[in-house]
Symmetry: C2
């Protein structure tokens, strides 16, 4: 039996072929996120891009991410928290029985308001396996950042913050966009730090964001520094919202691509939070973590 | 001597002719905000639209708002807080000596970050005159809401919150836009209240805004309710940022157009804050408040 793992997100599609011990033998990536696939064409796209991997007898595939959303291949109902790998593995949505399955996302509820994730749960399960731990706070930065609390190997609860999306909105469509350069350029550490610091001492982003305008107006923020400062503001806002102002302490695991996790590491350092980072390997490790439970 | 008051903002231009006691004899409004006027054409636009009012010997004009910004008729340097009507009247920028003057905006500074207003200071001075008071907290809702603290007739300090702009960004450009109806429709009180309540118990808007998506996903927020709920979220976020969660108490004066001040009155009521409202008359009253100091 051979396993294939697929991470099918909103804007990208990646696949990996595992050996019998979960090591990645081969990887593929395509700009074929679910938004590019017309309803009813998911089978065909999958067959085109991964058909050869699925040819050997006993080949099986696990798919995580937005492929399981209403706009995806087939809706995979959310699994309610608390949920660990065993809970999720027991609630797969099978596209082809015993052959291709979609991993359900998770839901949780707080104060009568639901929250959801799709794909991040698999990355958290992967990070647990990679780090050999069963408890912790996991941060998955992005368009919609997730903060997940894990106890005894299960995700107890989580929170979504629209950090990356607010950055894009302010960057591209707000009055601040007029004062920003066309390209973000390289990160300016001092400007990023100043943004984080201002967000941490502000009551909220609708107030702190105006500082991009006023500091620019008074020529106290060079134009090349502004994207970094704004990035610091929105990431600082995320930390403030999580109660991490001052010297909060504690520790978190940040999962994601290098460029972004480095920014979080820098910002969390200001709050005296200890940080471990896990890269893209978390996704493959998570899919394998689920797959080996099915192989048993 | 006869006085004319002009409120020249970003997107609109309004004028009023006063009698000798500050009563408004006549009003005019044009869609000729500063963004529609090419640099160097402000004299001509003013002459075209208000030339007849300026013909009588002794006619004088005071202009407040963005006409004094870098993009306006002539830049009127900010007046630093604390500032009252006497301070502002002493720092006018004269376009024509003794005939046409621009009212300076105000600046203040907190934690090394400046804040600015242009036009709202005049509305606050008008509200003080209309209500016959010298102290209070003044709220001016809008694209960029202002909260001003007035002591002994002078604006001590103020804060800008980009409430209206965040509403527009989320409404038009975010992932939430896809789940909202084409038109806002009439305010749905219960949905607005639910948005205010959720924002007040949330740590910040980047988190609470995601509830529009999840409540929609779980079919707990009818489509017609969503714009009202989102409006409640951003106004609730403004109150939360001002420390008004729970039963904060106290009292404020809200200055603005009816439709918006009613929403603030409703949201502030939840926080047990007493509200007085002042409408568009505040602007004319404020210009007269300044003019009569010059006439003396």
């Amino acid at each position: 039996m051979s396993w294939i793992g697929v991470d099918w997100g909103t804007s990208s599609l990646r696949g990996a072929r595992f050996d019998a011990h979960g090591a990645v033998l081969e990887e593929r990536a395509f700009p074929r996120g679910i938004l590019t696939v017309p309803k009813g064409q998911f089978d065909a796209v999958f067959a085109e891009l991964f058909g050869d991997w699925m040819e050997p007898a006993g080949a099986r595939c696990l798919i995580s991410g937005m492929a399981g959303s209403q706009q995806g291949w087939r809706e995979a109902p959310y699994c309610a928290c608390p949920a660990g790998p065993d809970d999720v593995a027991a609630r797969l949505t099978w596209i082809e029985a015993g052959r291709i399955a979609i991993v359900p996302g998770l839901s949780c509820e707080r104060d009568g308001v639901p929250d959801v994730m799709r794909g991040e749960e698999t990355q958290v399960f992967g990070a647990l396996q990679l780090l050999g731990i069963e408890d912790g706070v996991f941060v998955l930065p992005g368009t919609h950042s997730k903060w997940a609390v894990v106890q005894a190997g299960r995700i107890e609860r989580f929170t979504t913050l629209m950090t990356g999306e607010f950055y894009a909105l302010l960057r591209q469509h707000s009055i601040l966009a007029r004062t920003l350069p066309a390209d973000d350029g390289a990160l300016v550490d001092s400007a990023f730090d100043a943004g984080v610091a201002h967000a941490l001492r502000s009551p909220g982003l609708t107030q702190s964001a105006f500082s991009v305008r006023t500091l620019s107006l008074f020529e106290r923020l060079p134009i090349a520094d502004r994207p970094s400062y704004l990035s610091g503001l929105v990431i600082g806002e995320e930390l403030r919202s999580r109660g991490l102002g001052g010297d909060a302490g504690g520790s978190v695991v940040v999962i994601g691509a290098d460029a972004l996790t480095r920014r979080y590491e820098r910002a969390l350092g200001r709050c005296d939070v200890r940080v471990r980072t896990v890269g893209a390997a978390a996704g493959w490790s998570g899919l394998w973590n689920l797959a080996r439970r099915l192989a048993a």
